[in-house]
């Protein structure tokens, strides 16, 4: 469970042009710097936007990564719905927090 680092990676790719450039040039090198589970790594590499949502990434962070990966707005929303159909409900984070 490393949602913090998963979100940090996506936040930094969005907010720091240097990290984004490094990510585009040497993705695995950047990923090695974060404590991520195999499932999280797979979701980033996919990219599996739906799984990232299910893993608990905040939409205000995820929407930027989806846009960077070429997802138009409706495609982004649909990817999250598909993620829930395939992987089940959101497991952690803000959208899980007060649901139980």
């Amino acid at each position: 469970m490393s949602l913090y680092y998963l979100q940090k990676l996506l936040y930094q790719i969005n907010r720091d042009p240097e990290i984004r450039k490094r990510f585009e040039a040497d993705r695995e090198g950047v990923l090695a710097g974060y404590e991520l589970s195999a499932e999280e790594l797979g979701a980033i590499r996919g990219p599996d936007i739906g799984l990232l949502y299910v893993l608990g990434v905040n939409g205000q962070i995820l929407m930027h990564y989806a846009a960077m990966c070429g997802f138009e707005w409706n495609a982004y929303l649909e990817a999250m719905r598909e993620g829930v159909r395939r992987h089940g409900p959101v497991r952690a984070g803000l959208y899980k927090l007060v649901e139980d």
Partner: protein, 273 residues
């Protein structure tokens, strides 16, 4: 100078990035509301605008998340979003470091606010400014409240932040305007984007307009999430303005639930400060 203006408005990125998808009459009523708000702010002749927004990870992350923060720079850059996506060209918005320093120092007497000498503007501030100061000619003091990274800022502290901001603004020699910007019920950037709980919104806005402190502070986060979605946590920005206007009532000039903008688009003002 006593605070010269206080109001609230929505800031959803859909308002500028996909306007053509909204029902035309609703969109026009919203845009007319923004224009009325712009004229009201201009008529108050402010020297600067204090704009209280919701943090969306433009400046802060969970490695160091302040409950409240205020910008303290000579200028601010935005938007952080792709300018074509947002529909707002990149701009440099003037600040006033000296004014920020004095306001932050005064607010700190009552509320432990963080300050930032570097601050990026996201849609949460750029969308309102796009309508309200389209020439980017009014200095701003940005502020934000943690509405996304739990544990969230408690509502009663958001109200206290408003009280502290009011004292700071009243004691400054400048003519200052205050604007809170946030959504009411909404589920932005999630599969439920476009869902709006109009009944919940109208109840909240009634409490806000009557400035009923206890009623405004009675929402638990669990209730807000259930009825208003995670975007509903942004009621904190409205509550801060209510705190700043304690003893005064407000008026809702516009409420248009526009699903493609993902929020009940709202414009409200405090009638007499």
């Amino acid at each position: 100078m006593p605070l010269v203006f206080a109001g609230v408005c929505s800031h959803a990125p859909g308002i500028t990035n996909r306007p053509e998808r909204a029902e035309a009459r609703q969109r026009e009523r919203l845009y007319a509301g923004f224009e009325r708000l712009r004229l009201a702010i201009e008529a108050a002749r402010p020297d600067a605008l204090v704009i209280v927004a919701a943090e969306h990870f433009a400046n802060f992350f969970m490695n160091n998340m302040p409950a409240f923060a205020m910008g303290m720079a000579e200028h601010y850059e935005g938007p952080i979003e792709d300018e074509k996506w947002l529909g707002i060209p990149h701009a440099r918005v003037p600040g006033n470091r000296d004014l920020s320093l004095r306001l932050v120092s005064r607010v700190m007497q009552e509320v432990d606010v963080a300050y930032a000498e570097e601050w990026k503007l996201d849609h949460g501030i750029m969308v309102p400014l796009h309508f309200l100061t389209p020439r980017w000619d009014l200095p701003i003091v940005p502020a934000n409240i943690n509405c996304q990274g739990p544990p969230l800022t408690p509502l009663h502290r958001a109200y206290a932040f408003g009280r502290a901001l009011r004292s700071a603004c009243d004691e400054a020699p400048e003519r200052l305007a205050l604007l809170g910007t946030g959504g009411i019920s909404h589920w932005p950037a999630t599969p439920n984007s476009g869902k709006i709980n109009e009944a919940w919104d109208r109840e909240f806005l009634a409490r806000w307009a009557e400035n009923r402190r206890d009623a405004l502070l009675s929402y638990t986060d669990a209730e807000t999430y259930r009825d208003g979605g995670q975007g509903g946590f942004e009621i904190r920005t409205f509550i801060t303005v209510a705190g700043a206007a304690q003893g005064s009532t407000g008026e809702i000039w516009c409420y248009e639930p526009i699903p493609v903008f993902a929020v009940g688009c709202t414009i409200g003002i405090i009638k007499s400060l």
